[in-house]
Amino acid sequence: MTITEQPGADLPLQQQERVVIRFAGDSGDGMQITGNQFTSTSAFVGNDLATLPDFPAEIRAPAGTRPGVSGFQIHFSSADIHTPGDAPDVLVVMNPAALAVNLTDLKPGGMVIANTGNFKATDLKKARLDKNPLEDGSLDGYRVIEVDINDRVARALEDSPLSAKEVQRCKNFFALGIMYWLYSRPLEPTLNWLAEKFAKRPEVAEANQKALRAGFNSGDIHEMFQGRYEVAKCDVLPKGRYRNIMGNQSLSIGLVAGAELAGLKLFLGSYPITPASDILHQLSAYKHHGVFTFQAEDEIAAICSALGASFNGYLGVTTTSGPGVALKTEAMGLAVSTELPLVIVNIQRAGPSTGMPTKVEQADLLQAVFGRNGEAPMPVLACATPSDAFETAIEACRIAVQYMTPVMLLSDNYIANGSEPWRLPELDSLEPFPTEFRTEAEGYKPYSRNGKLARPWVKPGTPGLEHRIGGLEKENISGNISYDPDNHQLMTTLRNDKVMGVRDSIPKPEVHGPESGDLLVVGWGCTYGAITGGCQNMRARGASVANVHLRHVWPLPHGLNDLFSNYKRVLVPELNMGQLARILRSEYPKHEILSYMKVEGRPFTTTDVMAKIREIQEQV
C-alpha cells in the first residue's frame, strides 16, 4: 500500500530516524499482543528494532489497578540500534492506571494517546487518582490525543455477532490501527495474522480486523493528528536473512543446535519458574527433534534427572531462575564431582528470595561462579542480547561436552522477553563438535583424562566398562573412593585446572573503540545494548572510551590484564552491587576498576551509561 492511497494522505509526512512507543493497559487488554504485532510489522518493513515487555507477576491483578498494568515498549529505527529505548516518544494508555504508572518515563514533549472511554470516575478510583490527569494539568508539556476507543470500537462493530463484552476485547487492535496510521505501517501482516490465529472463529478474526481498520481510518480525522510519520527501512544492518526473535526462543533453539552439533540428544529436566518457563514450553514442542522434556516435581529433581540423562550419554540441560539455582546447588556439586556434562540455564530475575520475578537483575553472578559447597569450579557464560542467546547456548553445550563439566549459562528477564532482529546464521558455518563415547574396555579407567583434562564418557549398556561414580572423592585415574589427603589435593587441583583450561579454547573478546585511552567499559550480559550505544555516542562526542563485552565470565578470557593496562580506568556497569567488578578486582588487582551499579529491576539506559562516563571524565 502506498502512502498516497491512505486516509489522511494529504497530511504532512515527516521522516523520523527512530521512535520509541510504549503500549500500556490493563493486563487483560492484550498489550503484549499489540506490541508483538507492531514489532512484526516493523520487522516486515525492514526497521531495526528492540523490544521490552513489562508485565506484572500477577496473572490478573484487579482490573484497572496499578499493579495490573502491562506494558510493551518497542524501539524501531532506520539506523542501527542496541536497546528498546530509554524513554518513550509515544505512550498509548488504555486506562488511567497505565498513565499513572508510565507517565514518568515519557520524554518531555512526548505524545500521550489516551483511551478516554476508560477515564470515568470509577476508573480513576481504581487507579487511586483523585483527579482526572487528562484535566488537571498533569499532562502539561505533553501532546495529548484523546480518543474514546471503547465507543469507537462499539460503533465500528455494531453489526458484529459478538457480545458487547467481546467487542470491547478488540480495543487493542483499534489502538494498534491508530499507531499503524501514525507511523505509516501496512495493515496486511496483522490482518493475515488475525485470520490465521482465529481461523476457527472467523467472526472474532473479522471483528479484530475491523477494529484495526477503524483505528487506522480514524487517523484521517484531522483534529486528532497534525501529521504522520515515516521511519524508513534500516539500511545499515548487515546483509542477510532476518527474523525477529525473543531471548528465550533463541536460547531454546541454541540448545537444540548445541546438542545436534555435539551429535547428542537433548534432555531437559525443568520445573516451571518465571521467567524461564518459556524454554520448557518451547523445547517440549520439539519432540520430533528427539528432545526429551521432563517437567519434574521440583527444581532438584529437574537437575538430577538431567544429570541422570547425562550419565546415560544425553546432553542434560536444566533451566530455571535464581531461586531454582539455589535449590539445584547440591546437584551442581555432584555434576562437578562426577565430571559429567550438564548445562544449567539461569534466566536471572530480581532477588533476593522471590524478589521481583518479572523484573531484571544480574545479581546471580557470584552465585554462578562460586555458589557451591567445596571447591566446585564451573564455567559460566552470559548471553548479551536476545539473538546472542543462540550462539551462547551452543558455546555452553560445547564446553560442557568437551570438558565433561557442568556449565552455567546466564540470561535474564530483559533478554528472555526482549526481542530484536536476528541475522540468521549460515548453518553450515556452525562447527560441529562431535562427542566420542568410550567403548573400548581394555585399559579403561573412569577418571583418566585427555589433553583437556576431561575424563572418558561411557554409556551404561556398554559391555566391559561397568563402573560406579558418585559424589564421594575419587582416587585419581581409578575413580575408586578415596580419603587420601594428597589425592584430594590433586583431584581438587585437577578439577580447577580443567575448568581454567577452558580459556585456551575461547577467543579474546572484541574491543570497540580506541586501543588505548581514558576509559574501558567492561560489560557482561544484558547491559550490552546500553553500554554499546552509550559508548558509541560518547565516542562520537570525542570521549576517549572503549568498550568490551564478556561472553565468558568464568574462566575469564586470556588477555584482560594487558587490555586493562591500555586504559587509565576500567568501568563495570552491572545490574547488581558490583559483582563482576569484585571478580575483576581480585583477578587483576593492579587496575583501577570502578563499579557502576543499578538494582531497580530495570535495565540501564543508554543515557545512564553516557551520564556515568561524563561523570568519570569530569573527575579526571
Binding site: H289, F292, A301, C304, P460
Partner: protein, 331 residues
C-alpha cells in the same frame, strides 16, 4: 558377549571391599540382590544401580554393574533421567527410610505415581545410621535416639501405605533375615513391569539393634508375620491354622478356613492398604509379601512413544528448521 553366557552371583560382585558394620542386615540384602540379578537373564552391562546417601546407599559400589551414588534423597530423580533415556536398562534404586521417605520423600511419591519402570529397595531400619543414630520418619513414637533423648513424638510413616497412596503398581515387604522370602520377593519385583516398591526390614546392629525382633525373629516369625501370596488364602501360624479376613473397612483374625483369598491386583488398592495397617495392632500378624501388583502404562515407555510418534508424524527435525522458521525477511 556377556548376554551369551550365564551370569553367576560372583560376576555381580565388584572388587571393592564391603564396608558395612559386621552383622549389618545390608550384607544379606547385597548377597540376595547379587544372586537375583545374576539369574534374570539380563546382560551385566544393562544394570544400573542408583542410590542416594546413607548406609544403604553405598550399595552401588559393591555391585559390578553401572552405578551412581548420588546425593541425599535424589536417587529417584537421577534414575528417572537414566531410565527415560534408555528404557532397555534394568534400573535398581537402593534407598533407606531417611533417604527415601524423609529428604527424598517428594521424589519417591512422584516416581511411584508416574510408574517409572525401576525397582526400588527401601532398607527400613527405623533409624539414621550413617549420621550415627537419630530417629527417622519410620521410628515409632517414643523411640529414644540421639536426637530424641526423651523419646520421639513424631508419628511415623508406614512406607507401604505411602507407596500405595502414591499409586505404586507393585508394593511388597520382606525381611533381611528371611533369605528365601527376600529372594522370592525381589524376583517378583524384577519381573514386574513398572515401579516396584519393596520395603525391606533391615536390622541396624549398632543404633537400633533388634528393632524388628518381635516379628522378624526366626523364633516368632511364623506366628507374628503373614506372607501375602497371590491366589492363596491369607493364613499364618506354625500350623497355618490362623487366617486374616478382609471385610469392609477392617481386617480380622479368623480360623484358616475363613481366611480371604489374596488378590494383589484388585482395582482398588484398599485391601492392600488395610493389610499394611495391621502392624499397628499387636494382636494381628505383620504382613509381608506382595500387597499390590497391577499393570499401568510405563512412564519411560510413554515418553519415548511420544517422541517416536512426533518423529513419525513430522519427520526427524534438525535445528536448521528451527532457525529458518517463522516470518523472515531479507536485508
Amino acid at each position: 558377549m556377556a548376554d551369551e553366557k550365564t551370569l553367576t552371583k560372583k560376576d555381580m560382585k565388584s572388587d571393592q571391599e564391603v564396608r558395612w558394620c559386621p552383622g549389618c542386615g545390608d550384607y544379606a540384602i547385597l548377597n540376595c540382590v547379587q544372586g537375583v540379578l545374576a539369574d534374570l537373564g539380563i546382560p551385566k552391562e544393562d544394570f544400573v544401580v542408583v542410590s542416594g546417601i546413607g548406609c544403604s546407599s553405598r550399595f552401588p559400589y559393591y555391585m559390578n554393574t553401572y552405578g551412581f551414588h548420588s546425593i541425599h534423597g535424589r536417587a529417584p530423580a537421577i534414575a528417572t533421567g537414566i531410565k527415560v533415556t534408555n528404557p532397555e536398562l534394568s534400573v535398581w534404586l537402593v534407598t533407606g527410610d531417611g533417604d527415601g521417605l524423609s529428604i527424598g520423600g517428594n521424589h519417591m511419591i512422584h516416581m511411584l505415581r508416574r510408574n517409572l519402570d525401576v525397582k526400588i529397595l527401601l532398607f527400613n531400619n527405623e533409624i539414621y545410621g550413617l549420621t550415627k543414630g537419630q530417629y527417622s520418619p519410620t521410628s515409632p513414637i517414643g523411640q529414644r535416639s540421639k536426637s530424641t533423648p526423651f523419646g520421639s513424638v513424631d508419628r511415623p510413616f508406614n512406607p507401604l501405605s505411602l507407596a500405595l497412596g502414591a499409586g505404586a503398581t507393585f508394593v511388597a515387604r520382606t525381611i533381611d533375615t528371611h533369605m528365601k522370602h527376600m529372594e522370592k520377593t525381589l524376583r517378583a519385583a524384577a519381573e514386574h513391569k513398572g515401579a516396584a516398591f519393596v520395603e525391606i526390614y533391615q536390622n541396624c546392629v549398632i543404633f537400633n539393634d533388634g528393632a524388628f525382633d518381635d516379628v522378624a525373629d526366626k523364633k516368632v516369625r511364623s506366628e507374628k508375620t503373614i506372607d501375602l501370596r497371590s491366589g492363596e488364602k491369607l493364613v499364618y501360624g506354625k500350623e497355618l491354622d490362623k487366617g486374616i479376613k478382609v471385610e469392609g473397612f477392617d481386617t480380622e483374625v479368623v480360623d484358616a478356613d475363613r481366611a480371604t483369598v489374596w488378590d494383589p491386583s484388585t482395582p482398588s488398592p484398599a485391601p492392600g492398604f488395610l493389610l499394611c495397617q495391621m502392624d499397628t495392632d499387636p494382636r494381628k500378624p505383620t504382613p509381608i509379601g506382595i500387597f499390590r501388583e497391577v499393570d499401568a502404562p510405563l512412564f519411560d515407555v510413554e515418553m519415548n512413544r511420544q517422541i517416536d510418534d512426533a518423529t513419525k508424524a513430522k519427520g526427524e527435525g534438525s535445528f536448521k528448521d528451527l532457525v529458518y522458521a517463522g516470518d523472515t525477511w531479507e536485508v
